[in-house]
Amino acid sequence: MKEVPGTLEVIRVDAQTLRLVGEFDLAAVGVFEGAVEQMSVDGGGLTLDLSELSFLDSSGIKAIVACAKALDGRGVLVLVNPSKWVASVLDIVHLDQHAGIEIRRVP
């Protein structure tokens, strides 16, 4: 994995998709928010590819929830393919039941 300042690298995959690589904690919130701001979201919502996210704590969860709120009717925030551990963290805090958030597990 590429060494980056902080713990998270956010890669723009396409116009609607960001891939999160690394660890999503306090140090990564700014990086994440900056990357989201660069996306021009129309009605199609936003997708976060979590397949290479190895760690997520409350700071990251809050940032994801804030991101979903910011979409404000322009579609949902889709979380794709979290690792088993990240998926279980998302389950504990019931993020799948959060308005505007959808979790998709790719088999």
Partner: protein, 280 residues
């Protein structure tokens, strides 16, 4: 010992001692040091103080220069031990000099871990030393059921955005021998606790005391900070995920006032002895 090869002081001591047919205790007596200190020298977990160099070099029959050829004498390691000692005191624990052999190995482990944490030893070197110490303990103790030893790691963190990562790394390092699930949970919880302090950090350079304490029964993490309690026990803001995660991932937890400020601890029960570690 072949000529032209750099031989470590530890190797020289051991070779000389065996040549003389001495036990470690006898060698320690000849060199006028505590047996613990001598053992640590042979384990490369500590270095002799400069005031011992002359005596040791005479005993080895080599010059001081030759004796120290392979050594990077690290004056800071004892300071590292002092830091640990202070950190333990802050949470009301003793860092006493062990006389019991079991304590000796525990201490050696902790010294090596601390050296690695503070960057005095490379990770590879630390792993090498840890496996050496473990092997010697197995040989000496003969208790083949020992899979790992109790571990305590104390660390002081500066309350900034990098603190959560540093705390997770410390938990990961101390927990390298135990259930991966427990370590993952502990890393998440410690990350949240440290974040709460670092984020609500109004005073610059505030420090966070971290203690990771692992025994057969449980993994315990203590986070201490000067100042008011963390906002965890108050009315739960639906946006605050920390308390939910603490409830679900820890076996028990508590936030209390202590002399130094606020102590928050949590414990995660480990699979009991006898049960094989489930996975790596």
């Amino acid at each position: 010992m072949s000529n032209g090869q750099v031989v470590s002081l530890a190797q020289r001591l051991k070779a000389r001692r065996e040549e003389l047919g001495l036990s470690q205790a006898q060698a320690a007596r000849e060199l006028d040091v505590a047996r613990t200190a001598y053992r640590l020298w042979e384990l490369e977990a500590a270095k002799p103080q400069p005031d011992r160099w002359r005596l040791i070099s005479r005993w080895l029959g080599v010059s001081i220069t030759t004796m120290l050829l392979a050594e990077e004498l690290d004056e800071e390691l004892p300071e590292g031990a002092d830091l640990v000692s202070e950190a333990f005191e802050r949470v009301g624990r003793e860092w006493d000099d062990p006389t019991d052999p079991a304590d000796f190995f525990l201490r050696a482990h902790n010294l090596i871990r601390e050296g690695s944490e503070k960057g005095f030893l490379s990770t590879e070197h630390a792993q090498e030393l840890l496996s050496t110490v473990s092997r010697i303990e197995q040989e000496q103790g003969g208790s083949d059921s020992v899979e790992w030893e109790p571990t305590k790691l104390a660390k002081e963190l500066r309350a900034n955005a990098q603190a959560p990562k540093a705390a997770r790394d410390a938990v990961g390092f101390a927990g390298s021998d135990i259930s991966a699930d427990a370590v993952q949970s502990a890393q998440l919880l410690v990350s949240d606790l440290v974040t709460n302090i670092a984020h609500g950090n109004s005073v610059n350079n505030r420090t966070i005391g971290l203690l990771v304490d692992i025994d057969r029964a449980r993994l315990r993490v203590e986070v201490t900070t000067a100042g008011e309690p963390l906002a965890l026990s108050g009315p739960q803001d639906p946006g605050e995920y920390g308390p939910t995660l603490l409830e679900r991932l820890s076996s028990r937890w508590e936030t209390t006032r202590v002399a130094a400020g606020t102590l928050t601890w949590f414990e995660i029960d480990l699979p009991q002895p006898g049960a094989k570690p489930e996975r790596r």
